[in-house]
Amino acid sequence: MTDTSTRPTTRTPSGSAPPARAARTSWWGRQDITRGFWVKLALVALVDALGVYGVLAAGAQKQWGIVAFLVVALVAVNVVYFSKRMLPAKYLVPGLLFLLVYQVFVVLYTGYTAFTNYGDGHNSTQADAVEAILVQNEARLPDSPAYPLTVISDGDQLGFAVVDGDGAAQMGTAEEPLHPVDAPIENGHVASVNGWITLSFNDILEQQAEVFALRVPISQDPNDGSLRTPDGSTAYVYGSTMVWDEEAQTITDTSRDIVYTADQDKGAFVSPIGAQLGTGWKVRVGLDNFTTVFTDSSLRGPFVGVLIWTFAFAILSVATTFAFGLFMAIVLNHPKVRGRKIYRSLLIVPYAFPAFLTALVWQGMLNRDFGFVNQTLLGGAHIPWLTDPWLAKISVLVVNLWLGFPYMFLICTGALQSIPSELYEAGKIDGAKPWRLFRSLTMPLLLVSTAPLLIASFAFNFNNFNVIYLLTEGGPDDLSAPVDVGATDILITFVYRLAFGGVNRQYGLACAVSILIFAIVASISAATFRKTRALEDLI
């Protein structure tokens, strides 16, 4: 079980004890110098190199969480692979590291985000929000002097060089506020700045979008405003109509004389009458996202509808695929049916067809006006398969039946063949009719062996994003609903809409619904697994 076993010379029966003791004297002596060792050394060295690079890069970005994780992971990897013990760990560590980062961490992070208001308008810190609000509300000051402007570039970024009121040259960039610079002035404009290229008129035309978007802060204080140019040859002072008071934590809209106060519970600036500024910041909101789902009148209705349909979809999908698969398995489970093998291998062909393609192909076939089903199979009908709420639900189920029945057919065929034929003999001798045999013999035995698979299938269909999204995108959309929701939306496509769909992305709310989905699937699976005792058999 130890690495010494790779060195047959040390395993002489009489001399095994003294060399082992001698080898224990130094760390180096304890390592076995085999080909495997060098491979291991190279791999660990590579991991270490990447890890150290990561620590430095993350440190530079002040991502202390990543730094801490990398340090712990690196120590763990080195200890595990250079220790003589911890054999199981040597095999588990690679998978565990991936699992920790991309599964456990993201699950925990989902949980954390579910308790925040993260989303559009709430995606950064308060300082970023203040700056964004001030910049958004900038306008050219009516009394601003006109500064003769030269646009300069250092290859990466643009900058402004201007001649101020005293006739002195100043320059600045988006990051660097305006500061005096020693530069020659010709014709009232700064001619050139050392280390920078002066842009010609044509250069400015080429990059006009960047030039017009550039704002050079006058000073470190965002309240002082910035220099911007509307034409590329003159700069004006732009000031924000909003004034930020850090002491009082307020933003004042000077144009309309409204004071917005920072509300750390909402992560937004709120006026006395309750109006909010559009840009806020990320704060923890406790259980708000969860309670919103159930209490907000605009969300509760759609959510409950989606929840019911999700259950209906998952249960009906399992039921229809299982019933059809089982039926076909029984039909072909007769030894005298000619061509049984060919039939069987043909029936599972849909299973080999990638699911996302199936959904897209069916989307075309079910098209109301041009689709194959209406035009060819039904002779020119105009049945709104995908655009009527109820028909769309049926269509989704039929497509999922097409996708899922071969799998059920496979497992039912296997399970049927494992039922001992003596049982049927005994049943027939007792006078049981075929239906009775099926009900009292086939079904119970079949369910015992397929129950865990049916549960897995339920859990899978509960989150069957591909079929729903690629066939109907969750639609037809319910236009009367206050949120973005459609008739065939299941929970996971609903979450997708919340997070990435519309104009107002609500990551926090989406994560909260994800957690709810997990809770539902996990408790159902756990309860049924317990019942089927699949777990006890396994471990």
Partner: protein
Amino acid sequence: MAAVDTALPTRRGKKATVGLPGQNDVNPHGLRWWRELGWRHVVTWGALAFAFIPILYVVSSSLNPTGSLTGSNTLFSSISFDNYVDLLTDPVHPYARWFWNTLMIASVTALGTVMIGAAAAYAFSRFRFRGRRGGLLSLLLVQMFPQMLAYVAIFLLLVTLKDVFPAIGLGTRLGLILVYLGGALGVNTYLMYGFFNTVPRELDEAAKIDGASHAQIFFTIILRLVAPILAVVGLLSFVGVFSDFLIASVVLVDPNSQTLPVGLYQFVSQRFSEYWGVFAAGAVLAAIPVVLLFQFLQRYIVSGLTAGSVKG
């Protein structure tokens, strides 16, 4: 799972078919034949029609030179390869790139999944250590949280990683592969664990006495004996990644690095009915690798599926 394992159709076959209901030694004729066997053929043909119409339809559409949805409604009315040519020469939709990306991402992920899962299954099956039972149970728990539910968090994580490790950040294929590998352990370890347990421990013991190290036992003995389950896990992971739309669409933004599901979806969502033929050609080509893999590994799949996996 033991009950399911015994149900492998491949291992059964002849013995089980003996003495099923309705069997006797004379082949039936006439009405009797119809009642016993004939209807089975009819029903099966019906099911085959259901199974094959979409496939025939998409193949026919891909060969139809009109290229529109309406024009494709008469199956195999005319045949040409125009759509395939259009598909491979479209500069806006780099189909060949998508194909290559998908194959690459799916193959690397499948390989990584097999290695990671096999190593973990070996540890759980062959070593007795503290936290073994707890570890297996927590894997079961973690895998109940499907990775795709956490795609919001995955998105945010990759945005952060982009600043530290640009190579595995948002928008990179390597980043996507690593995300998939994170889900590798939870789902597949069980499947493999059961199979590893069926390999007799005496083999390890014997090898150990002959002086083999644990690594040699793993790489040269165990891995060869569990090849069928490795094939199944590799295939399932390949197909799962091949079909994944959700995470791929969140992670990959640039058209040149996208995968087939994301790319083909754009085809359909942007210019649906006029470009139907081109889409159909893309779908047929995309289906080929998966169908081929299934054909090659069919023997293994049947047993692997009955051991408890679901199509992804």
